[in-house]
């Protein structure tokens, strides 16, 4: 321990870090103690060597660094391969400024061009948009035609007279159903419930403009229901609200989940809305439920060009349709559309169990 302290003192002495009195005292001690004197001399020599060592190490390090950096810059060469790589770097160093100027000119040019494009683009874009919408409209017609022919082929074997299928749901327990107008291709229809029971139905009213239609079950087997579990909602759905649908893309009832993706329908049609959901032929006319089990729309068309873009007629349209009906014919005064849902608090599975009995498969045929 003492040696440690002594060494520290010697180092401080040799580094000149001592105060004058301390130094004088230590020099006195050196004179009187030959061992300490010897230690100081030896350590001084050692420290000098250490300094030289430190300097040389530092210098060697700097030399290496300079050597490597010059190699990188291509100022010096060490053999073919390295010089080839060095040349590229050398060229870079030489033309750095030129490259910078060229890059900035290119940047400015790009900015000017993009500026010009964005200045002239609105009108051009509009044209394209209109053209595009025209295309989609044509597409829609083609889809409709394809739908017609394919369903005709599909159903040709079991019942040759069936022209199209779709989905319908009760709006009044007495047997009034709502579906899409485009579902009803023929002059008559039969509706099938989810247990496979078939009922004769009569087309009461078709509104091609709204793409809505009303059917009335005219069958002795049908037992009128007092109240429906779901209500039909007049107000609009909020963007992003979760929605689900039940329908008959096949003979069995199929459930699908989605959300409201736009408040208006195709081409800004405010009578309908856009839903992101998976839907197929046969889903047409199917009810769209919100999470409370209220019907908010009737699934009608989908956009072929985009995935999962489906349009639904807003449920408000049902009220308009029925009002129109009542105006024209007093025999429909008794139709009462349910406005409140009794399945509100239930979970999804139980909601479906309650409502699925009132959703029918529609088969339109020619008498």
């Amino acid at each position: 321990m003492e040696d440690v302290v002594l060494m520290e003192i010697i180092e401080r002495y040799l580094n000149g870090a001592m105060l004058p009195e301390e130094k004088a005292y230590f020099e006195q001690l050196r004179k009187n103690t030959p061992e300490i004197d010897q230690m100081v001399v030896e350590h001084k020599l050692f420290l000098q060597q250490m300094d030289v060592y430190a300097e040389h190490t530092g210098l060697k390090h700097s030399l290496h660094e300079v050597h490597n950096s010059l190699l990188m810059k291509g100022e010096i060469y060490e053999g073919g391969e390295i010089s080839a790589r060095g040349k590229v770097i050398q060229l870079y160093h030489r033309y750095k400024k030129v490259i910078a100027i060229a890059a900035s000119i290119a940047g400015i040019t790009a900015l000017v061009i993009s500026g010009l494009i964005s200045y002239f683009s609105p009108s051009v874009n509009n044209n394209q948009l209109q053209q595009l919408s025209g295309d989609v409209a044509i597409l829609k017609n083609e889809i409709k035609r394809a739908q017609k022919s394919s369903t005709a082929v599909e159903t040709a074997a079991p019942a040759p007279t069936v022209l199209s299928t779709g989905t319908a749901f009760l709006i009044d327990g007495k047997g009034y159903l709502v579906t899409n107008a485009h579902v009803l291709k023929g002059s008559g229809a039969i509706v099938v419930n989810n247990r496979g029971q078939e009922f004769d139905a009569k087309i009461v009213h078709i509104d091609q403009e709204k793409d809505l239609a009303v059917l009335k079950i005219n069958d002795d087997d049908y037992k009128p229901v007092n109240s429906l579990p779901y209500g039909i909602k007049k107000s609009n759905v909020q963007l992003g609200e979760e929605l689900y649908t039940l329908g008959y893309p096949r003979d069995e009832i199929v459930y699908n989940l989605g959300y409201l993706s736009a408040e208006s329908g195709f081409n800004g049609d405010t009578a309908s809305c856009q839903i992101s959901i998976s839907a197929n032929r046969g889903n047409s006319g199917g009810p769209v439920f919100n999470k409370n089990g209220e019907i908010v729309g009737i699934l009608s068309t989908r956009q072929m060009a985009a995935d999962g873009v489906v349009f639904a007629v807003k449920a408000k349209g049902i009220y308009h349709l029925v009002d129109e009906l009542k105006k024209n014919d007093t025999s429909f005064q008794k139709i009462k559309i349910p406005s409140s849902s009794s399945v509100k608090g239930l979970n999804r599975v139980d909601q479906i169990k309650e409502v699925e009995d009132y959703i029918f498969l529609v088969k339109a045929y020619n008498e």
Binding site: E42, Y53, S62, H64
Partner: protein, 206 residues
């Protein structure tokens, strides 16, 4: 080939002798003494290619050229640092002279002595400086060997204190000692070992 580089060297030497002013050289040497990387880079750029050409043309490799040149710069550094320093020649001439001596000596050691053409290119007597340098170099090697046989963490500890000149507190933090006193104790033990290793070799050398 030989005649080519001879003329090459002559042209270079004559050209630079005219262009370079003495004050410029003094600035460079001061920079070298202060370990200024800009000065080192300039000296390197101005002289290395000439030395490399010399070494390569005399049975040397790229690595030899680098070693010899760097050793010459160290010699120049030592000379510039000494109090009685007077540079009587151009830096280029001095470096060339040292490199030439060093390389001929190394060729001799390898038993592949080739009489390098002398005469046309300018050289200055550097024998005295070379002797000092050799002594310094030997001392350096002793210290280097001693340092390297110390092992870790002694080596790094002493390097941190004596070369990087860090404080004991900083060192204790860096090496993970609980306090500066413990680091000091460890440093003392390492120092004693290093001194023992160093002086055994050093005294034999004497």
């Amino acid at each position: 080939m030989a005649s080519f580089w001879v003329t090459f060297i002559v042209v270079l030497v004559l050209k630079t002798a005219k262009v370079k002013s003495d004050t410029n050289e003094q600035v460079l040497l001061r920079g070298l003494v202060n370990n200024d990387s800009k000065a080192i880079e300039t000296i390197y750029k101005d002289n290395f290619n000439m030395i490399q050409a010399f070494i390569l043309n005399n049975n040397g490799t790229y690595d030899d050229a680098r070693d010899i040149f760097q050793e010459a710069v160290i010699t120049l550094y030592e000379k510039a640092k000494s109090e009685s320093f007077v540079l009587t020649s151009q830096i280029k001439t001095y470096i060339y002279s040292v490199c030439r001596r060093l390389w001929l000596k190394r060729l001799q050691q390898m038993g592949r002595y080739i009489s390098a053409p002398d005469g046309i290119e300018e050289t200055v007597p550097v024998e005295e400086d070379m002797e000092i340098h050799e002594k310094r170099n030997a001392d350096f090697m002793i210290m280097d060997r001693a340092m390297n046989s110390l092992g870790e963490p002694c080596k790094s500890l002493l390097e941190a204190y004596y070369i990087q000149r860090k404080g004991m507190t900083e060192i204790s933090v860096e090496f993970g000692y609980t306090n500066a006193d413990n680091a000091k104790n460890q440093k003392y033990k390492c120092l004693m070992r290093l001194k023992k290793l160093f002086f055994t070799q050093y005294n034999i050398g004497e």
